[in-house]
């Protein structure tokens, strides 16, 4: 009995104390806080060229850098499959501008300082990405064992002319309008179309530059396959409406459980509240993003979680009506209903797992929440609720069938 009281009090305290903080920390999806999401299909600019994993990754990174540069908050860029990139941006004021900027291929240029350029700026474009031999940029080590990048240029004559003209001068490397590293200095007239770029590069820095040059040589063309854009007001409205719907629905479920099953119903309600709290905690800890379909799964899951309690309590009542004592009814009810509930839950998990494997975006999110929710409900509404009830019955707190909602007249003699 003491363990029952302590458990309930401690859990209630923990839940009451932490819930406001937890709710603030739940990360909301774009459909709830406003923003836009675009799924790009990537293909090489030149027909017939191959799309490599590295170039997709690199393009995704450059998208993220661009989104950051445009001052958006926490852009999320992920690659999907072999040729897709998903981009999520919240809180954008000029959406059209951002979308246009994002779709432009990354432009790699080698530039020299033109007449009148201030110190450290370079405006004359000498070479563009397509002047480089695709995939030829590599990291090597020079005689001093320092990393350097070897490159190959398609047009030998052009390169010879450039190196001759810029001998002893700086040639800067730009990706879009961003200067990459310290500009290297042209040290020789190069006639065979190959060159190596050295500087104070770390091995990682050198590798990144080589990748960038390779990407610049073969930029990817991005086409929008799917886009979703949600205004912040509309998102907030969806969130408020749906949460309210969930609260009303949950409240009715709780009232139903208590009205129907009395004290065991109250225990089930407590388990359900614990279940909901745990689910929110899992969201925060695992850093899941809550989307509108996610909330729907959340709310439906509450209705599904109490199924375990309904099945258990109905079974217990049945055993009582058959004339068993309260303790043995509870024991038998817990035992037999356990198997039924597990079988039912496993089938739902099978479907949710398939949805997770085959779904994309919102479907995946929905399926994941459903799985987490079912697993949690096994812990709270099956194990925990069974335990609470058993403790109370053993302590002698539940002595009358009436407390289970069973009429004395319905009980058959054994």
């Amino acid at each position: 009995m003491l363990s029952f009281i302590i458990t309930v009090l401690v859990l209630t305290g923990v839940m009451a104390f932490t819930t406001p903080g937890l709710l603030d920390k739940v990360r909301l999806g774009l459909d709830l806080k406003g923003g836009f999401e675009i799924l790009y299909h990537a293909e090489p600019m030149e027909a017939g060229a191959e799309l490599s994993r590295a170039s997709l990754q690199k393009t995704a990174e450059s998208l993220e850098k661009r989104a950051n540069a445009l001052g958006t908050s926490e852009p999320e860029v992920t690659t999907e499959g072999t040729d897709r990139i998903r981009l999520k941006i919240a809180g954008v004021t000029d959406e059209a501008e951002v979308r246009k900027k994002m779709k432009e291929p990354a432009v790699l240029t080698f530039r020299s300082a033109a007449e009148g350029d201030p110190q450290g700026t370079f405006s004359k474009i000498e070479l563009v990405g397509s002047d480089f031999v695709e995939g030829a940029a590599e990291v090597q080590r020079n005689n001093l064992n320092q990393p350097e990048i070897s490159i190959k240029i398609k047009d030998k004559k052009k390169f010879a002319e450039i190196t001759k003209r810029l001998l002893g001068k700086e040639m800067a490397i730009y990706l879009d309008d961003q200067l990459l590293g310290n500009p290297p200095i042209v040290r020789a007239v190069l006639t065979d179309g190959t060159a190596s770029i050295s500087g104070n590069y770390t091995i990682d820095g050198a590798r990144e530059l080589a990748d960038t040059i390779n990407l610049g040589a073969l930029p990817l063309k991005l086409t929008e396959k799917y886009s979703q854009s949600v205004g912040a007001t509309l998102g907030k409205q969806s969130l408020d409406q749906t949460i309210k719907a969930g609260l009303v629905g949950s409240l009715i479920i709780l009232i139903f459980m208590i009205g129907m099953y009395r004290l065991p119903g109250l225990l089930a309600s407590f388990a359900l509240i614990l279940h909901t709290w745990l689910l929110i905690a899992v969201f925060v800890v695992a850093d899941f993003t809550l989307t509108l379909p996610g909330i729907a799964a959340f709310i439906l899951g509450i209705g599904m979680a109490v199924d375990a309690n309904i099945i258990t309590n109905e079974r217990i009542r049945e055993e009582m009506r058959n004339g068993k004592s309260i303790l043995s009814s509870v024991k038998a009810g817990n035992k037999t209903s356990f198997r039924t509930v597990m079988d039912a839950n496993v089938t739902t998990i099978i479907v949710a797992a398939v949805m997770f494997a085959f779904g994309t975006g919102a479907v995946k999110g929905f399926a994941l929440i459903l799985i987490v929710e079912i697993v949690l409900s096994i812990v709270t509404n099956l194990y925990f609720a069974h335990w609470l009830l058993t403790v109370l019955v053993k302590a002698g707190a539940l002595k009358k069938p009436k407390q289970f909602g069973v009429k004395e007249s319905d009980i058959r003699a054994l």
């Binding site: 854009s229 749906t242 949950s250 139903f256 109905e314 479907v351 459903l370």
Partner: protein, 300 residues
């Protein structure tokens, strides 16, 4: 609450078979002739949902949209402080912006949700949905066959495919919009509506252990008894989820309305099919086993 007089569910189920077959046939006819009312999720195009601070009229909206230079005539649905504009053509980001600007002129507090899908993407979504349904069914058949026996698995699958199909049929008959969340709803129904069926089957399995059922009449009585014993809990468990789905439908966000509606319909039919379709169907399969292999005692 219990029934004083035992209902003959097996007998009643004959009428429900007819009812279910009638809906299925009607659904097939509608699907074959009218198909489904696909949203942009499945059909290339753009869907624009606008939340407004005041009501605007078609007369205001139409000329405003005309100047955008979009060749297609959009479908416009007006609602209370909302408007939905749907194009069969994918809007590019400039057109998106022009549209937003045009509507914002009519109401400066307008808030937008714009969804655009390419056909290829839509086909992929539909294909994945069909794979998901097939693989889910296969998974359930395997699991139920292991835990119970194949007859239970078959009866359960028929019942849940029935539930899923009726939802699709209702959406086809009433021309309700089918979007991506609809697929999620159908899959959830498949996963959930089997729960009630499992509860009843579990009871049939348990009751089978208690006595030897020699005749078809014995088996029939057993099924009736099992359904009656679990009837209230089947209804209650369906009720709690129904409450959740129902309030999502009437109070929840606009973009999950169709999801909630599909769930509500699916849950109702799920409860119905667990009671009146699945168990009698199992009995039908079991009866054939008795007739063919008379010497073999019924296995549980």
């Amino acid at each position: 609450m219990r029934f004083k007089k035992e209902l003959d569910f097996v007998h009643l189920s004959k009428f429900f078979y007819i009812f279910s077959i009638a809906i299925t046939v009607a659904g097939l006819i509608f699907l074959a002739t009218m198909g489904l009312n696909y949203s942009v999720d499945f059909k290339a195009g753009s869907n624009v949902d606008v939340s407004l601070s005041k009501n605007i009229t078609l007369e205001q909206l139409k000329p405003a949209l005309k100047d955008l230079g979009i060749s297609h005539e959009p479908d416009i649905t007006l609602g209370e402080n909302r408007v939905n504009i749907r194009y069969d053509e994918v809007l590019d980001s400039n057109q998106d912006e022009a549209l937003k600007a045009a509507v914002t002129k009519l109401d400066d507090k307008a808030s937008f949700e714009i969804n655009t899908v390419d056909t290829e993407m839509a086909k992929e979504l539909a294909r994945n949905a069909i794979y998901s349904v097939l693989i889910s069914c296969l998974g359930i058949i395997i699991y139920v066959s292991i835990r119970f026996e194949w007859r239970f698995a078959l009866a359960a699958i028929v019942a849940l495919v029935h539930d899923a199909f009726i939802v699709v049929a209702v959406f086809s008959i009433f021309r309700l919009e089918v979007d991506l969340t609809f697929i999620v709803a159908v899959l959830t129904i498949i996963g959930y509506s089997i729960n009630d069926t499992i509860v009843i089957f579990d009871r049939i399995r348990e009751n089978l252990r208690f006595g030897k059922q020699k005749t078809y009449e014995d088996l029939k009585a057993l099924v009736n008894k099992s359904v009656a014993q679990t009837l209230m809990r089947s209804l209650y468990t369906a009720f709690t989820v129904f409450i959740a789905a129902f309030f999502l439908l009437v109070m929840g966000g606009e973009s999950i309305k169709m999801f909630s509606l599909a769930m509500v319909i699916g849950l109702l039919f799920g409860a119905y099919s667990s009671i009146f379709i699945a168990s009698p169907l199992w009995l039908l399969l079991k009866k054939r086993q008795k007739q063919t292999v008379k010497s073999n005692p019924a296995k549980a």
